[in-house]
Symmetry: C2
């Protein structure tokens, strides 16, 4: 037998800028043209954004090739939608000199970023998140992907954006329920990274709910700093990035079990309370912390208990399918206090046995 060793050099480091402001949409394509001199833009968006007038606001007088995801939302987050986008890019004669502009919420960003990663083995994507959830979370960090018929974000790629534009003006057209659910990733960020930020959310919640632009820009900045810091240290989720998964192991199972009756943020809200209950069970810190979390979530207006119709054995089954599971059981991210991850040696995720999770799920029915 002959052996031959092939060396693969490191893929070069890079970076991108997040710009946060009001009314950025109208000048955005000019900025993209300036940054990618020879590139042709291709916009991916969804019906909600078209109806809210944001696609027109972005394009102005220009005619730009685009794809409108129909229907909007998680049901379209499939390989079939990605394939349709890719074929539509082919039909428009696009080449490697394409830059994808993802205009929309987290679903649009995940799908469009994934399509950009696959088209001609990868073209740049500019993320333009238009929801609180996307501005707080999904537009930064380079995770893209779609759901399988069995689990969320089962298929995807790491594909960092070439740039991110956050126009808080776009939040004005977000529906009330979506807006409230969108705040939950901000709560999660505060819980895992910054006790002062948690207090800020408590004290500024009314202004946030009134959608005051300056407070929204501040929230976006705080979120991007936290998310960006974690992503810089661990871009492909080897270890530290797992802390972003706080509340998501139970949360994702709840989201799938609800068959997307619950919004992502609503399911994660239940997941955050679930994480808190595990912490109480294991004696991590003060039980009053969970009271503050529940109070904030209730004031935001999201569920903090499991729907009675949701069977615990179904949730256990879905937790086994978690994409971070090894040997059919995932590990859980937990905190000792706001901003203090409970570490076990160098690990940010802990083994928690099935019996404990079953106990916690039973308590989550409220």
């Amino acid at each position: 037998m002959t052996e031959l060793q092939i060396e693969v050099p490191a893929v070069g480091s890079g970076g991108y800028t997040i710009r946060i402001g009001t009314g950025l949409l109208t000048s955005l394509l000019d900025r993209v043209s300036a940054a990618f001199a020879k590139a042709r833009p291709f916009i991916v968006t969804d019906e909600n954004l078209v109806d809210a007038g944001h696609l027109s606001r972005l394009c102005g007088e220009r005619t730009i090739d685009h794809f409108v995801i129909t229907p909007p939302g998680e049901v379209s987050k499939t390989m079939q939608t990605v394939t349709a986008i890719l074929e539509s890019m082919e039909a428009a004669f696009l080449g490697r000199d394409t830059v994808v502009v993802a205009l929309g919420g987290g679903t649009v960003g995940d799908i469009a970023g994934f399509a950009a990663a696959l088209f001609k083995r990868g073209v740049p994507v500019v993320q333009v998140p238009t929801t609180l959830l996307a501005q707080a979370d999904s537009a930064v960090g380079g995770k893209t992907g779609v759901d399988s018929s069995l689990s969320k974000n089962a298929f995807g790629a790491f594909w960092h954006p070439a740039a991110v534009f956050i126009d808080v003006h776009t939040l004005e057209t977000v529906k009330d329920r979506d807006y409230r659910a969108g705040l939950i990733e901000s709560v999660k960020h505060a819980m895992i990274a910054d006790a002062d930020y948690f207090a800020y959310l408590e004290s500024h919640l009314d202004a946030i709910l009134r959608r005051e632009h300056d407070v929204l820009a501040e929230v976006a900045l705080k979120n991007c700093r936290i998310k960006g810091h974690v992503v810089e240290i661990d871009p492909t989720e080897q270890n530290m990035r797992r802390i972003l998964n706080y509340g998501h192991t139970i949360g994702h199972a709840v989201e799938t079990a609800s068959e997307f009756e619950l919004l992502h943020g609503e399911a994660i809200a239940i997941g955050l309370v679930g994480a808190g209950l595990i912490e109480v069970e294991l004696g991590f810190g003060d039980a009053k912390r969970l009271d503050r979390v529940r109070a904030l979530l209730k004031k935001i207006g999201v569920p903090v208990t499991l729907p009675r119709s949701m069977r615990p054995d179904r949730l256990i089954e879905l937790i086994k399918r978690d994409k971070k599971a090894v040997d059919r059981w995932p590990r859980f991210v937990l905190i000792d206090d706001f901003g203090q991850i409970h570490k076990q040696g160098q690990e940010y995720a802990l083994d928690v046995d099935k019996a404990t999770i079953e106990t916690v799920l039973a308590r989550l029915y409220g």
Copy 2:
């Protein structure tokens, strides 16, 4: 407007070993288990390999989750097949601790490698190429992907194998036409990288066609050295790697225009003659070189002229859609002599105008 800069660190360098020998298949899964201690293997293969007994040879007494691509060949190289593989991996309860084993020719390797790149945002793939084409080319280098309805390899990812096993014994069951077509990437390698290798192919062609194991192992080693060298220098096709595209710009168009009546190697054979005709047209080196190429290709038994039924305007249309095209026209890799790429400054690909290509296509009808 507030700005925040996010730094993305370089993705770590790595490497993999190519092992070449006879009868490696039977011990391969033991080697994979040893290298990936906790991982669960998932085999992707096609009907041809099953019929030839190679899947049984690989699995032995074990029961391993697997996916059989049906029908075999380019027609299955679609997003739909990748989606079916991914869903089948989900249904088998596989997680991030999966290692995909790609047992088959170039199509299987491309599809399986692509599925591995996407499953849970990426799991390792072990390439086990079973055809000359795959052993010479596609198993090394990390290019994976599928075709669109309009062009070849339109969608994909760079995903380097974790290991490559070349068992020349598997070549015994390759059908004659496929075997002959499979030699063409070796001819291309010799043309772009090694004049002595071209002479070796001329002098050892009878032994190669008799499928003598020691000569086949030598051919595999020479091919992997050439391919591996280029890939090490340029893993994501920024510049030098383009030389591997020699003969492929016309070749891919011919392959698509034939609606896959022509095998990849057969189309590339025509593409190699096409590249030679461009070189003659531009006065690059000695015209006798093209005679040697034509003679070797004829002895191998592949076409060296375009089918009369293939319209030149259709080929021009497909060349415009080449995935390396910028502004709807690709550049061409050309040589001054065997092993000597014609460089223009630091560029390995040249601008050749449409009129020259039209002249060359007219001559390619023989």
